[in-house]
């Protein structure tokens, strides 16, 4: 079993393995083998397409958390020029789970804020597995206010299991830090585009996720509680996470249907990790399209429609 691949990707991994070994044989050079490789490649594509056309919510959750999935720094490197990271909340410290700074997107100045997961265990420990503490949210808030002052559109990137549940985080007011950001982003005097690139974990994700446009990569997830957390409460065991994932409607398709997000950014065949450069380009296109549209709208009108959109969230019956 190839650990770089998820359970349901194994058939694809096997085929790719075969192609790989044929290639090494082919160095001798035989037309028959070249043909066989071509045939297998076609088969592999069809198989991938087939598997990915019917993914369950749980499989998509696994893709969203895929260890090889591109994390924030890949986007920072691929999308922007002149990115300069700005550190610290000016009160307590610098949270390494949140990365922010100024940059240029196709020449235009922007403010960028995102949650950062690590690519390996060592980096994950350093990044606290992408789980921010209050000082991370307060750094984000400081940068949001700066974006407002200097009329920089704000681009946020969400990839976090959630806000960190720790003693220190509670002591320093995790709840207040998140609430303060929700409050600020609702009226932030600059265009805001939020993109879920991996895992959108509950309030810890929403704390940098209120804006004029909410985009999601196709195989990212956004949920009120992790499927495991939901399962352990409602099904009394985390083993039912796949049922919980299905029930909560956490995929980009489900959220688009509920009108909770604006746009799904399609991923390359087999998921973002199969072609990172292509994924970054797709995100870039989406960001530019949305920014261009938002910049046409007078800021007062933009704030009013952001407010009205927030007020529309919800689904209820009204009897008279």
């Amino acid at each position: 079993m190839d650990l770089r691949f998820l359970d349901f990707e194994q058939p694809i991994a096997e085929l790719e393995g075969k192609i790989e070994s044929l290639r090494s044989v082919q160095d001798g050079g035989s037309a028959n083998i070249a043909e066989e490789i071509l045939r297998l490649e076609e088969k592999c594509k069809a198989l991938t397409k087939n598997i990915f056309s019917a993914l369950s919510a749980w499989q998509i959750s696994q893709l969203a958390r895929h260890p090889q999935r591109p994390h924030l720094h890949k986007y920072l490197a691929g999308l922007f020029t002149d990115f300069e990271e700005l550190h610290g909340d000016r009160c307590f410290g610098d949270d390494t789970a949140v990365v922010g700074g100024v940059a240029r997107l196709e020449g235009r100045p922007v403010m960028v804020i995102g949650t950062q997961k690590g690519d390996d265990t060592r980096e994950n420990v350093y990044r606290n597995f992408g789980m921010p503490r209050p000082e991370g949210y307060r750094k984000a808030l400081r940068l949001m206010r700066m974006a407002e002052r200097y009329k920089l559109p704000l681009l946020t990137f969400i990839d976090t299991p959630g806000a960190y549940p720790g003693v220190g985080a509670e002591e320093r007011g995790q709840s207040e830090a998140i609430a303060a950001n929700l409050f600020a982003m609702a009226r932030l005097n600059t265009p805001v585009v939020c993109t879920v690139i991996g895992e959108g974990g509950s309030g810890g994700a929403l704390a940098i996720g209120v804006g004029d446009r909410i985009l999601m990569l196709e195989y990212s997830i956004y949920s009120v509680i992790s499927p495991e957390g939901c399962a352990s409460i409602l099904w009394k065991s985390a083993e039912h996470a796949s049922k919980a994932a299905e029930a909560m409607g956490i995929t980009s398709a489900a959220l688009k249907k509920l009108n909770l997000i604006d746009q799904i950014i399609e991923e390359p065949m087999g998921g973002a990790h199969r072609d990172v450069a292509d994924t970054v380009q797709r995100v870039k296109r989406a960001l530019l399209d949305n920014l261009e549209a938002l910049e046409q709208i007078p800021i007062e009108q933009l704030l009013e429609s952001r407010y009205q959109r927030l007020m529309r969230y919800g689904s209820y019956n009204e009897y008279t």
């Binding site: 929700l182 309030g203 929403l206 209120v210 909560m248 007020m311 919800g314 209820y316």
Partner: protein, 294 residues
């Protein structure tokens, strides 16, 4: 007394071992903190605060508002809103089944009650979470009722007071419930822009999505004594950090020490204190002051 019980020294013989005269159900209550047996009627008069140890027991939304507001005027806001099962959510029970159970048990349609009324003559909107309704969880109806209450405040220029008691977001409504955090927080920006006070009173327990949105956004964040208040639940934190939590962790007094809440208010002084605070913030006199100045 059996031969075995006779062998026991008297001090470890429990009272319960000998059948006592039964007390009519509901007439007496035991304080879960100091174990004092309390006369139900007396306890109710004391707003469900133990007369012996001042432990604040949980109380329902209606009783909370009834004891807080002047008898009139009172107009309920958003009562006509009822929850909807947008996700067709089902675990061991379906969401509609859970709603029906909660509605039967609490006689409420959902977990927030909003009433426009007055406090010592000062007009305001007050809302309270019903914790017994699915753990006071915030779904679409809770969010919409809160927002309508806030908008009534903006239209009429009157303050908002909210008593929170909630486990957080309502899982059965998925991201719709998460978005209620953003929605309720956004509505509060309108009050702030117009200089309309919002006092948030955190009661036992206020956790998760409610704590991390509207409940922490008061001009004044007050708490009832010993209320559990926090973002992550104590069990989740314990599992994450793998150590036992400090004594009094996430209780009101702990939050006061760490600068998260402004003050702790005893329930029996709630009317007086909130009226005092609001009258100062709005440059008005409340009834007690008017009466004493005559």
């Amino acid at each position: 007394m059996s031969w075995f019980e006779k062998l026991l020294p008297s001090k470890i013989r429990t009272e319960g071992a000998t059948p006592k005269k039964t007390v009519p159900e509901g007439l007496w209550t035991k304080c879960e903190m100091c174990s004092e047996v309390l006369f139900r009627a007396e306890l109710e008069q004391n707003l469900d605060v133990c007369p012996k140890c001042a432990h604040h027991m949980r109380i329902g939304a209606r009783r909370r508002l009834d004891s807080f507001l002047d008898p009139d005027p009172r107009v309920e806001i958003g009562a006509q809103l009822k929850p909807l099962d947008a996700l067709k959510f089902r675990d061991s029970k379906s969401y509609p089944e859970r709603l029906a159970l909660a509605q039967k048990e609490t006689k409420e349609n959902d977990a927030l009650v909003v009433i426009q009324g007055a406090l010592k003559g000062l007009p305001l909107v007050a809302c309270a979470f019903e914790f017994r309704f699915m753990g006071g969880s915030m779904g679409s109806v809770v969010g919409e009722r809160f927002v309508r209450g806030a908008h009534a405040c903006v239209e009429q220029g009157i303050p908002l007071v909210c008593f929170s008691a909630s486990g957080g977001a309502r899982m059965q409504e998925g991201v719709l419930s998460l978005m209620q955090m953003a929605k309720t927080s956004a509505a509060l920006t309108r009050l702030k822009e117009r200089g309309i006070p919002f006092i948030s009173v955190l009661t036992d327990p206020t956790m998760g999505g409610v704590s991390a949105s509207l409940a922490m956004l008061g001009d004044i964040n007050a708490a009832e004594p010993r209320a559990l208040i926090g973002f992550a639940g104590p069990r989740v934190i314990e599992q994450t950090v793998r150590e036992t939590l400090p004594e009094g962790f996430q209780r009101s007094e702990f939050l006061l020490d760490h600068g998260v809440v402004d003050l702790i208010i005893d329930r029996r002084e709630m009317r007086d204190k909130i009226a005092k605070l609001l009258s100062i913030l709005t440059h008005q006199n409340h009834q007690d002051q008017v009466a004493s100045s005559k």
